[in-house]
Subunit: 427 residues, 2 copies
């Protein structure tokens, strides 16, 4: 069965309970990222322009106001990815929630669909985006496509199709319409168009589903058929990269949540440090070993700005050793970059590549002044219990949006209180 056939089955399939629990954690994390992202004033003009084209409606946008679902998904997808702090799936090569959740949330709010059904549709969409991301493969990404947006649009479409209870024929048309709209380039990284790509994917999901429901026809297999999205966009179409078609859809369990407000390449190292018993004043030298890919991504030796710190092994390691929270976005400032104590500490750090490590692994060795050594290792692929994730994501939310809003948000997700959930989003 080809990828489109698998998606059509997934749209109707029963959801897995553990996967659904993970979806709820991602949903709360997504909302916290979006509420914090909405405080970035750079996007105010964008938000005002989209709102101006959209009129009034019944779907809440981050930061307040309600507009029709397509525009709300566009704004919410963009703002929730603005901080680049949302969830990641390494096999998908993308951030699943920012494309899918805004689509199903906006439609569910408009149509008064229960919170639990929205979560199921979100899970379907996330699983679909992971499948499509794997099927498009690394070649698609290396060519220059932003998988968060391209695979994400198909995920958003399938999530919206499930939520709207489209027939299989309509769902096929919705996927066909998505094939003509899914887009987004990696060359936007470092600009505001990177998060915008996520917002566009979310809107595509809504529009593809609504238009298919309204009778708009499209290619019968727009994703994988002749001249389809995959063949035209350097997709690998590697069916063997996908899990068994018969197995339950629970790839979401491999999602990696960000617990540090910096480049994902630094996270394994920071996790390793967090498990070590070290005192900054006693440190003589620090050796970090990482996958070669990261050496050109996040190994700035002497960062001078808060932004540059987010891409620096030596400086974030120094922060972690000095007990400064790397989870707190507010700590990535120019002052932190120039702090004499941290600068002195980062100068003791050496970073080396090690091709025996995976992209998700890091090793660290701390040599103390007294000649003793402490070593650490972390693999982001190692299982983290849902309970532990939950507790860490709750702390992350507090750091991002403050205790009051974090409490309201988590309580709304736990009780499935749709009204409370959208209230905190628009707070």
């Amino acid at each position: 069965m080809n990828i489109t056939g698998r998606l059509l089955i997934l749209a109707q399939a029963k959801t897995d309970a553990e996967a659904l629990e993970m979806m709820q954690l991602s949903l709360a994390d997504w909302a916290a990222c979006g509420i914090a992202g909405a405080e970035d004033r750079a996007f105010d003009g964008f938000r005002a322009t989209v709102t101006g084209q959209a009129g009034t409606g019944t779907a809440t946008v981050f930061g307040g106001g309600r507009i029709p679902p397509a525009g709300a998904a566009l704004i919410n997808g963009t703002l929730s990815h603005a901080l680049d702090y949302d969830d990641t799936h390494f096999a998908h090569i993308g951030h699943p929630s920012v494309a899918v959740v805004p689509a199903v949330l906006a439609l569910a709010e408009e149509r008064d669909i229960p919170f639990a059904e929205m979560c199921e549709a979100a899970l379907t969409g996330v699983e679909a985006s992971i499948l499509v991301g794997q099927w498009l493969g690394r070649g698609h990404y290396q060519t220059g496509f932003h998988q968060t947006a391209t695979a994400g649009a198909f995920g958003a479409t399938l999530g919206a199709a499930r939520l709207l209870e489209l027939t299989p024929d309509q769902t096929r048309m919705a996927l066909g319409l998505c094939a003509s709209m899914a887009s987004g380039l990696k060359s936007q990284f470092g600009t505001m168009a990177k998060p915008l790509n996520a917002g566009l994917a979310a809107r595509t999901g809504i529009e593809a589903a609504l238009w298919a429901a309204a009778g708009v026809t499209a290619a019968s297999d727009g994703l994988a058929g002749p001249l389809g999205f995959g063949p035209t966009h350097h997709g690998s179409a590697d069916e063997t990269a996908l899990p068994d078609a018969g197995s339950p859809a629970r790839q979401i369990l491999q999602i990696s949540h960000k617990f540090h407000a910096c480049c994902h390449g630094l996270h394994a190292m920071l996790e390793a440090v967090s498990k070590m018993n070290v005192t900054a004043e006693h440190v003589d030298r620090i050796m970090i070993s990482t996958h070669p890919r990261w050496m050109t991504v996040c190994n700035q030796q002497n960062p001078e700005t808060g932004l540059a710190v987010k891409f620096s092994y030596p400086h974030t390691a120094a922060m972690a050793l000095a007990g400064i929270s790397t989870a707190n976005i507010a700590r990535y400032t120019d002052e932190t970059a120039c702090d004499p104590q941290l600068v002195a500490l980062r100068e003791r750090v050496t970073v080396q590549e090690d091709d025996t490590l995976s992209e998700m692994q890091a090793r660290i060795l701390v040599m103390n002044n007294d000649g003793s050594e402490v070593s650490g290792f972390h693999d982001l692929a190692a299982p983290v219990s849902l309970a532990e994730r939950r507790s860490r994501l709750m702390r992350k939310a507090v750091a991002l949006i403050g205790a009051r809003r974090a409490d309201t948000l988590w309580s709304a997700v736990d009780t499935g209180d749709f009204r409370a959930f959208v209230q905190v989003i628009g707070d």
Copy 2:
């Protein structure tokens, strides 16, 4: 200078007077196609859905109603391409007006910009889409991209940028944003998503320009730079295919307007027939010679439906010989396909390929019962005076939308009466 540099210059350049006159002809033709296209009830659900997401506004849509510009451009671009009867530029490999005109029209109406300025912006956009289409080249098209929509989105963006008087830096950002949104697959041909691709391109132009004006940043050369739209979408990037950078922008003068409501591959033949002096009853045999490409596109021998007739050399030749208007969409019916007189005539037609002919040329030889022969030839690339085009396009408009609306439309374009123009569009 690369393609993006050329576009930035084009955005500010003085427009050519003859090119502007051609733009006005295309504008009137575009409107007639859209007014007629809006009568296709299949798109009613689509129109209602877009309107529902858009609220009220000040940009007129075909068939009535006013909504904000982005939604209006989406609807108008789609409906004006629904009949596939709008203008074509063979070097662009696309239909320029359907992507560009809806974008500048909606913005100009909302902002009360004079008709003449809108026409200049439309011309800029059309010239831009032709340049980008040529630069992307045939490889992009053959891979499966729908140049009307992809190159068209860049044209719509540049037209909107000119209309809104964006600065060069903002225009660069708008083109960068467009690079992440431009999309559309040829595998949609034969479905409603084909015209939808044009509508999406028009909307992209508006959104890219508005968002750039609102401060959204993007890749500095999203079209031609590293991992840009061209490199990632199988663009040929053949700068030598473009006219001299210093020459005035007037490629619009090579636009081919459709004067027959059928596949463009049939037009050279139908033009050749129209110049021949033949009486159907006296015809014994007819030989048609055409470019090999068309043999698999529009050479149906025994069409049984009105739609199939649109792709049939023998049947449309029979219609033309029998004096039935091939310009009149209403004549492409199942009854016409089965008309015994036409069926008898079409059986006398032989079609052969001739690789000495261009795609825009056809040759025809009619052998009469009395042994006499009449031959004809037509090249769609042969110059047609603006006066002759005008007179034929006016007749076409009458056939499409009736004399009353056609008169109002042409008079509005001739006098630059914006209010009358949008009134007839929304009539």
